[in-house]
């Protein structure tokens, strides 16, 4: 998950705490991850719009994406957000900035030189957790609620895999290619919602049945079905544009 740096300028201390809490709360569920930075370079900066109508010039030089927090019922503006601070609107603005930063590979214009590159991050990314391959494998007890899946196709895919077979986070990462942190976080979320269950212990091996004509009909249904390999699955997904 890409990480971006958010600066705060002359905001009340309580508001800084609120913004920092929101960034931590939504760190797992957003397409991009924002962290509060104490010093530039910033990818975006929040300023107190009640103290100045326009951001100070040095801020404009430091960061092209400035959001002013204005007084309640202030006139709307693309670079302003009226108080009280609404998490959904702030996150919507940050997602938009993140998308723009990810797309923008052109050098900064000469009239507003940046003192630091606009791509993330002086702060090193959090290392991905190690996922032991022999961790207990669990499967879904029932299909998760919409609030757990949040219309997220990656979560739907992970839940689908777990509905079919007992897996651990290591298996999920191998099957989906998603970051280890996402796979682990989702498994923990499902566990906290009491949605995962360990498969029943395998029964002791029975002696091989005598070869009789009757055993020929005891094939499981899947053996009669056409085989569909991982390569065909990839080809099918490509055909669907996935």
């Amino acid at each position: 998950m890409p990480q971006f740096k958010l600066g705060v300028h002359e905001l009340p201390a309580a508001e800084v705490v609120l913004v920092r809490t929101l960034m931590r709360l939504f760190a797992q569920d957003r397409p991009s991850r924002w962290v509060i930075a104490d010093a530039p370079p910033y990818d975006a900066v929040l300023v107190d719009g009640c103290r100045a109508d326009t951001p100070p010039e040095h801020l404009r030089r430091l960061c092209p994406h400035v959001l002013r927090l204005t007084r309640i019922n202030a006139d709307p503006a693309p670079d302003a957000l009226a108080r009280p601070l609404r998490a959904d609107r702030l996150l919507q603005w940050l997602d938009g900035v993140a998308s723009g930063v990810a797309r923008d590979t052109a050098p900064a214009p000469a009239s507003a030189p940046l003192t630091a590159p606009s791509t993330p991050a002086a702060e090193p990314p959090r290392p991905e957790p190690e996922l032991p391959a022999d961790a207990p494998r669990l499967s879904l007890r029932r299909w998760p609620r919409a609030a757990v899946l949040r219309d997220n196709p990656q979560r739907v895919r992970m839940a689908t895999l777990l509905s079919r077979r007992a897996l651990n986070a290591h298996d999920l990462r191998r099957l989906t290619g998603l970051p280890a942190s996402e796979c682990l976080a989702f498994m923990r979320l499902l566990q906290s919602a009491d949605l995962l269950v360990a498969p029943p212990a395998a029964p002791p091996a029975a002696p091989a049945p005598a070869a009789t004509p009757a055993t020929a009909t005891a094939q499981p249904p899947s053996k009669a079905r056409p085989s569909f390999t991982q390569g065909l699955i990839s080809s099918f997904r490509k055909r669907l544009g996935l």
Partner: protein
């Protein structure tokens, strides 16, 4: 070249024909006639089976079959489901008892559902929020089934694609470790 098959089933008006049309590379062959059933407001209804297809880069083909929705055609379901890759059950949440509709298909395909990948797509939820997706999951649990249940609008290609992708994910899980 190998041919594979995905089956779309569900009650009349659930959107099977529309779903196939949303992803088929060819205009789907539609076997419908004027609807003479006064219990349904549709002008036309499928009486044979709808047919679409997708050709993969490997040259293999995936046929998309839609079953007729009325229960009196259930003899066709057992024929059509043979050797299918997966089953997509489309439900219409605007019908009087969508969970009873679901039960018809869970029971009609009970033997196959022990192994066959399957996904439930629930349409018209925004305008008819009850029963909710959790109620569908509860119904599945009563049949000892854990299957994906998704809120879909089959007029949107992305939603139909998601339904097919969940079938593929189930196949992937089955293949994992082999």
């Amino acid at each position: 070249m190998t041919e594979y098959k995905i089956l779309f089933t569900g009650p009349m008006g659930a959107g099977k024909t529309t779903a196939i049309g949303a992803v088929s590379e060819t205009p789907p062959v539609i076997t419908d006639v004027a609807n003479t059933d006064p219990g349904h407001g549709k002008p036309r209804t499928t009486v044979g089976l709808d047919f679409g297809q997708l050709t993969l880069a490997t040259g293999d083909r995936v046929r998309l079959f839609g079953t007729p929705g009325q229960v009196r055609f259930d003899f066709l379901w057992q024929i059509l489901v043979r050797n299918a890759l997966g089953l997509i059950v489309l439900c219409d949440n605007s019908r009087p008892d969508p969970l009873a509709d679901l039960r018809v298909y869970l029971e009609g395909f009970a033997a196959e559902l022990k192994e066959l990948p399957c996904v439930i797509g629930v349409g018209r939820l925004p305008g008819h929020p009850a029963p909710g997706l959790e109620d569908y999951a509860d119904e599945l649990a009563r049949h000892d089934l854990v299957l994906p249940v998704l809120d879909v609008d089959v007029r949107r290609r992305a939603d139909v694609t998601l339904l097919i992708d969940t079938l593929l994910a189930q196949i992937e899980a089955s293949l994992y470790g082999e």
